[in-house]
Amino acid sequence: MAFQIVMDHTGDTRHHFNPDDVQALAKAEERFKKLTGRGFTAAVRTASGEVSKVQSFDPNAEETVFFPRLVGG
């Protein structure tokens, strides 16, 4: 099971999906495009624990986190 975590005012919203399910994968990719299109940054963790920013949907990513665009405080 893979999941996408979207940070929001409720803490976060988690979308679980089965990467072996073609329909679920397409829906996850659509969500990825929609969020990044709205300015969200997407990041994944590597097996070693390093974090990397991703520009395109990775169907093998087990966990992707999305956060809204940064603003100066």
Binding site: E50, K53, L70, V71, G73
Partner: protein, 136 residues
Amino acid sequence: MFRFQRSLLAVRIRIHALRQLYRKVLGEITKDARGLQLMRDWLSPDQRAQFDDSGTFEVVGCHSGKRYRIYRGTAQNVFEIDEAGQLKLGLCFTPYGNLVAGDAMLAQKIALETDESSALAVANRFLPRGRINAHG
């Protein structure tokens, strides 16, 4: 009889208000705790140990190699630090929207570690006056 009904109504209103307050407070605690848990899960082992020890953690900027310390909070909580670990400069940048502290801190970490120059481009600078110049 009328007085009794009025006092009963007042009690019900108070109970309802208390329930609402309880739900609100519990909800806040829950989302704060979830944000901190998510952040903690995404920290490196070293950062996690720092956070558990002092409530802060350090990150290295991907472009400059500079070190930053992130304190608990949503704004005015990121500082560039010198070689001795002393605060040099405050940087104020945060994700748009009303996010909880754990989420904001995780976003700040990811931004500095993966796209430092973009984070610095939006950040406002401030002097770290009043902030304890040590961990915690």
